[in-house]
């Protein structure tokens, strides 16, 4: 083996370490577009938007999908560390609850008066919508 075939991938949230395993490839939702990370990637630090991290253990295999609520990624040639504020495997997202949350937040937004309240609700709304689109499989807007 002349070149390493995998990259050590780690996904940590403040509450726990979710993934720590070698991966063939990882696709990460960067703030400025999706980032595909393969072994030997140049060193990179990027901020992430709410979205889905896709992990490929083997080339051409089925990806493991994990939703993250924004965060940061630190990539070097051998390591890839994702710091997520909140992380949840996509199959564990409760679709009905998320839809309900979106409806509630939209209602709140209508009622909210102050600008910073609105900002906060809008932020949560984007998050919930990203969560929902992670389940339905559509691309995040």
């Amino acid at each position: 083996m002349s070149e390493p075939q995998t990259i050590q991938f780690e996904l940590v949230s403040p509450d726990e370490k979710l993934v720590s395993a070698p991966m063939r490839m990882a696709v990460i939702p960067g703030d400025e577009g999706e980032i595909g990370v393969l072994p030997g990637h140049s060193a990179l630090v990027a901020s992430l938007k709410p979205g889905v991290v896709e992990l490929y253990e083997r080339a051409g295999g089925k990806p493991r999908k994990i939703f993250i609520a924004g965060g940061f990624v630190d990539v070097s040639a051998e390591n890839c560390t994702v710091l997520a504020e909140e992380a949840l495997p996509v199959e564990q997202i409760d679709r009905a609850a998320t839809e309900q949350q979106i409806a509630d937040l939209k209602e709140d937004l209508g009622v909210a008066q102050e600008a910073h309240d609105k900002d906060r609700i809008r932020k949560r709304l984007t998050l919930a919508e990203a969560k929902l689109s992670a389940v339905t499989g559509k691309l995040a807007a």
Binding site: P14, D15, D31, A46, D74
Partner: protein, 302 residues
């Protein structure tokens, strides 16, 4: 002279107290284990965050345009102290020591002529400080650590409040006062500055060396978006992590302190029962002897 019955009642009451304290000790021990596990689970995130902070901060040229979270507001007049205590008592000097440290910090700042406001996390700290500093307490958070688990979401409530106040210009410098978990037997009250961000000395020196060795190239990392933007997004997160860690440390420390305190209480209760039993037996002996004397002297008189 207490009667035999008094002694018996006393012994029974101390025994039931001992039962309670030893049960509390056991509960605290199991909660402590959980809290420690949780603190360990949060370790990788905090560590990666610290590494990333050092990396990004070393690449950024500090200028006036930098985030005030990093360089400060230019003034040091208004101070905010976030004081983390437990919600419940019966844990030895845990809350008392912390409040003492907080008072020391408050009076030190006041002597320098600074304005001080407080944010209390935990019911005990709020109650203890309210008598002296009622007007200074800007906000208090109670019940965050009430359940056995401290959640990041809960810590975030504190973080959000602190950041909001900072943006609104309510303070210039923020310190975190909390009990650092040193070991099961030791919790150290410590004061840590979180705003503006103090770049760790060691880290910055190390990165200076790296800069020199790489021939003046600022850093070998690519940033997406630019360093400044990442840094300004990282800083609030980093504060969040520090507050979360303080809460975790405090939660583990609280259980450890309670365990130690209850262990002592259980032992003291045992000692007390021993000495009470001794006194009880002595009194009983004296009573029996007295009765015997009465019987004998009665028989002799006949």
């Amino acid at each position: 002279m207490p009667s035999l019955r008094d002694y018996r009642d006393r012994i029974a009451s101390v025994k039931s107290t001992r039962k309670i304290t030893s049960a509390m000790k056991m509960v605290a021990a199991s909660k402590l284990r959980k809290a420690q596990e949780q603190a360990e689970a949060s370790q990788p995130y905090a560590q990666s965050m610290a590494e990333m902070m050092a990396r990004v901060a070393s690449g950024v040229v500090v200028s006036d345009a930098s985030s005030p979270l990093l360089v400060g507001t230019g003034s040091e007049q208004k101070h905010l102290l976030v004081i983390v205590t437990a919600d419940r008592g019966l844990c030895g000097g845990f809350n008392g020591n912390l409040v003492k440290a907080a008072r020391a910090k408050i009076s030190a700042l006041r002597e320098q002529g600074k304005d001080v406001s407080l944010v209390c996390v935990g019911r005990k700290g709020r109650d203890l400080l309210r008598s002296d500093y009622r007007p200074q307490i800007a906000q208090s958070f109670v019940g965050l650590m009430g359940s056995s688990k401290v959640e990041y979401k809960d810590a975030n409530k504190v973080t959000e409040y602190v950041l909001e106040q900072f943006e609104a210009g309510a303070f210039d410098v923020c310190h975190l006062v909390y009990n650092e978990f040193v070991s099961v037997l030791t919790q150290k009250p410590s004061v840590q500055q979180i705003i503006p961000f103090a770049v760790p000395q060691g880290a910055s020196k190390e990165s200076d060396k790296k800069k020199e060795s790489s021939g003046g190239v600022a850093s070998a990392y690519d940033f997406e978006p630019e360093e400044e933007k990442i840094l300004s997004a990282l800083l609030p997160r980093n504060i969040g992590v520090q507050i979360f860690r303080a809460l975790l440390d405090s939660a583990a420390g609280e259980q450890a302190a309670r365990m130690t305190a209850m262990d002592n209480a259980t032992r003291n209760a045992g000692d007390m029962i021993d000495s009470l039993t001794l006194a009880y037996n002595r009194a009983r002996q004296a009573y029996i002897t007295k009765e015997l004397i009465e019987i004998i002297s009665g028989a002799e008189a006949v």
